[in-house]
Amino acid sequence: MNPTDTTLTELRDAIASKSISAAEATQTYLNRIEAHDGGLHSYHEVYTERAMKQATAVDDGEVTGPLAGVPIAIKDLLCTDYGHTTCSSKMLANFQAPYTATAVQRLEDAGAVILGKTNMDEFAMGSSTENSANVTTRNPWDTDRVPGGSSGGSAAAIAADLCAASIGSDTGGSIRQPAALCGVVGMKPTYGRISRYGLIAFASSLDQIGPFTHTVADTALLLKVMMGHDPLDSTSASVPVPGDIDQVDEAPKNLRIGIAKEYMSDSNDPAVAAATQQAIDVYKDHGAQIVEVDLPHTEYGIPVYYIVATAEASSNLARFDGVHYGHRTDKAEDLIDLYCRSRAEGFGDEVKRRIMLGTYALSSGYYDAYYDRALKVRRLIANDFDTAFKDCDAILCPTTTAPAFKIGEKSDDPLSMYLNDVYTVNCNLAGNAGISLPGGTTVVDGKELPIGVQLLGPSFDESRLLKIARVYESATNYYTKRPQL
């Protein structure tokens, strides 16, 4: 088996037909992690022994399922009752969760082998992994550049074939943006599709778990396993998962692709604009109708997001108090001082900024001006999508304005970092589904860098969105390009 030209589906089938053992496949990925991750830092923790045990159980016929023996990496904010779950924060450096997240449990129940946990921006706050308390993950295409974030470790791990697939979370673009920058498929399903039980919360009305894979079919396979109602998450949707979700090769008929001028800005990198135009042409050749749609409130997405997400974060992160779990200062004079110092020592600057911004937006005298107003504009943004999806089946747009930026380039300027999410964030605010697909590469400073193409679809119709995505993938096959390690 050669991981660099194998898809998850192919590997799954090879294990099922016993042309390769699960143990051999797992060992191959563990060897690649050993050989290459020292330069990439995509993993925070690798479960070598446990993974080999899981693989052996598959080979012995004790474990079966649609993912039997497939090695997968998970973002370090998904709780497991083994190993550590740290959110790449000093606050949770030694945290051992007492239970396993539903999404991870469903993967394991389907036979998946969990290789380890991946590096991320602390508490999922960032777009580059530079906010990790541990280390910055490197982009496998150019190690001077960021992999994107916050799920940057998961994106880099699959891009470098250090796993057969990986799992991330997307609050404002944290799956799709790193997928674009690393040249892989990354999907945020509709809000509520995958249980958030055991996902350490950042912004509860925006957070959604999703996969990173090389192909659309692989993403469909993982969604089929992970999606569906969970009684342990009251916000998980009771909407049935369509049985044909993994039939991605059924070409959609009477397809209408929406183009919104708000996403076709002149400030897009020329290579990004060209990739988007090429995708439009692919759909035209397929016989799709290209329709113009209006998303007039697009430019208000980032301001709304940085109120809503920070307000929710300020509340969610109040639980880290130095008492129940997590970092505790050894300098406290009294209880309040214990809270303040434990949190000041345990959180990094970006997390502190967001907690303070959210607290400010919710505080007396500012609530109406900021929080309430942001919620109203959020409604206008969601209405824009509802109107647009009456005229089209999916909106085609770039995932990011430009390919991967250099490490350090934006780390001192929070606002310019925030603007990374300009094409991804509205999908989270509205709650609908979005997927980023490999859109080819462009050469910058002598290095090939991936470009992402994004499709946004209506809520709870991932099945059709994946079939639409597959049309572009089968016409381009960009996923076969892999970085030289």
């Binding site: 030694n94 945290f95 051992q96 007492p98 809000y191 509520g192 009305s205 009684p231 009251s234 916000t235 430019e299 208000y300 301001p303 709304v304 940085y306 109120i307 300020s314 109040a318 108090d321 130095g322 008492v323 129940h324 779990y325 970092h327 406290a332 004079e333 009294d334 209880l335 309040i336 001082d337 214990l338 303040c340 110092r341 949190r343 000041a344 502190k352 900024r353 907690i355 303070m356 911004l357 607290t359 400010y360 505080s363 109406d368 001006a369 900021y370 107003r373 942001a374 919620l375 109203k376 504009v377 959020r378 409604r379 206008l380 969601a382 929070p414 606002l415 925030y418 509205a430 709650g431």
Partner: protein
């Protein structure tokens, strides 16, 4: 609607206190500039007329999701205490709350 005045260093100190974050003078100075820039950008929301728009707090407008009122296994005391930085089982241990120490 009136635009709130720019965030000041005193505001940041107050917000840090509400957020239960210990900050140094240097932190306050640093964060004030950064938060002011972000809030200035957020001020863009004042361009819109939002009169009569229903606030959207969540993508799924759910109320009172209830499960059947039946006893279910939960986390054990040992498990709940396992990550506690200081404990005297079955309790979490904290510094004195009332008494002679300075209080906030």
């Amino acid at each position: 609607m009136s635009t709130p005045k720019p965030i000041s260093e005193d505001d940041v100190r107050q917000v840090a206190k509400l957020s239960r974050l210990h900050v140094t003078d240097e932190d306050v100075h640093h964060f004030t500039g950064q938060l002011a820039a972000v809030l200035d950008y957020i001020g863009k929301l004042n361009e819109l007329d939002v009169d009569g728009v229903e606030p959207m707090v969540h993508p799924m407008e759910l109320v009172n999701v209830l499960r059947p009122d039946r006893e279910q296994p939960g986390i054990t005391t040992d498990s709940a205490l396992a990550n506690a930085p200081a404990k005297t089982p079955p309790f979490f241990k904290v510094p004195k709350v009332l008494g002679d120490g300075p209080s906030a």
